[in-house]
Symmetry: C2
Subunit: 327 residues, 2 copies
Amino acid sequence: MALSEFDLISRYFNQSGLAADPAQHTSVVLGIGDDCALLSIAPDQQLAVSMDVLVETVHFPAGADATLIAERALAVNLSDLAAMGARPLGFTLGLTLPRVDERWLQSFSHGLRESALRYRCPLLGGDTTRGPLQIAIQVHGLVPAGTALTRSGAKVGDDVYVSGILGRAGLALSVLQNTLPAANAGQRAELLAAYYQPQARLALGSALRGIASAAQDVSDGVLADLAHIAGRSRVGLQLEAAAIPVAPVVRALCDSSKALELALTAGDDYELVFTAAPAERAAVLAAGLSARVAVTRIGVVVPGSGVEVSTGSGELLQFAQQGFQHF
Amino acid sequence: MALSEFDLISRYFNQSGLAADPAQHTSVVLGIGDDCALLSIAPDQQLAVSMDVLVETVHFPAGADATLIAERALAVNLSDLAAMGARPLGFTLGLTLPRVDERWLQSFSHGLRESALRYRCPLLGGDTTRGPLQIAIQVHGLVPAGTALTRSGAKVGDDVYVSGILGRAGLALSVLQNTLPAANAGQRAELLAAYYQPQARLALGSALRGIASAAQDVSDGVLADLAHIAGRSRVGLQLEAAAIPVAPVVRALCDSSKALELALTAGDDYELVFTAAPAERAAVLAAGLSARVAVTRIGVVVPGSGVEVSTGSGELLQFAQQGFQHF
């Protein structure tokens, strides 16, 4: 049985002496287990850091356009800052390349530059070396002390929300594998754009500081990612199937149960899932408006554990896969 | 002709809009081109960050002991903090593994833990994924504002120093390749320890703040690394061959010219090379004593550019290779 990423990290790396412990390391506010680690650097500011590694054939197809890989790599990392409500400071890059391919480098650095400008997150430094194509990116952000959005604050009675629309990045994999013959050119383009050019929800994350009780980005799938909020907050989450904002293009190309499954279990959408008290409903909508992204209420926080999805008639839905498994 | 790492970074990643520019990004004190990037986080503190990627067969042999790989990976990164005079805060880990190998993970996390404890640098978080074995580590450190040791401050007339003894890590590669039959068991052990368990000179780096005018760690070879100081400081460096502290074990196993070549051009020693004004000689020696590491004066900063090595009779030595090339 393969171990999930989370199990792996817990078992081997979350041991005393190795993993940062806020009780022992006074600069560490939050260590392993959230979207970013938080370091206390100044009385009023905390540093949020997060590293993601993208591997050819695992996270993107061999031969994929280097500009798109670069845009995706930076956006995926910035999404972790968004999920903490942090503002980007800059990023470092660890790039491993099988050979010096100047066209590839030109294309890759172009995509990186476009994203660096769009998100105001410049390259600080890094390391380039020879080896199988991999891209390690670490982002650094600032958040006012005590206001970071973590996974552990959801409370019974809170509403559960998701930003944007879901399922397109997951269905894009079928386009990449040529197993979606029904899709027309426009639909293919929309799906591939969702996969390669996800939007890091930085404005929404910042706007939700002081409003959301817990937040996380959707990288492994809504159910898998919400399970982290449920676990860290020691609560259960009850979602309504009818409320899930499945992308129209996904509804158009899949039957309704497949569309819902993609929306809930496919990864790579990089939207934000978050919880907030009912008293914050108007503030949540205002945050979505200010960030120019739809925000949909999809469920409620309940006593217990785990994440359940129910139909209007109260029937519980089962999904074979809870989300992307790293191993 | 292969491009060096430095050329690669300059050409593609040092472009306007992508690379951090302190004039535009007010939090960035120092971007690409030194041992660490520096971020201004508080009025009195700066954050030093550095990322290194280690690739199997490029940076360590296939099948190498996972505990040793882990120790080396963290020490190599901490060496960059040492070269800035920064104190470690913690590190992030991007680990790519071909499969879940529990023995390997046990061994790797053990080595990481030993080093995290020794250097007081805990694991903050990271990412694990499936793929060819690679280890990306980013370290984070703090340095009092304005006191970081950079590569750009060497001045004509300054002395040039190196810590410790040189050439062992380079000669260890011959042990690993079984091309050093003359070495006995004790010599092999010493060489391999120098390669796998380099000491990050954190205490020395901190002690040199306010004393050294420029500093850098020896990762690619003394000549290659000093060439960065020469370039960034716009000066020349004149080294004396007789002053180079070649490791006794290297002298014992190689003829004198090969020993000197290893000491000056082989990478992986992870000592510090630095410059300081002649008025600081006593302070430099005191810094070495407090950090419990030998410090040797090996040359002088001169007008001009580049790094030259001369014999006692004034003859200039030529070396085929200036240091480890990443491509």
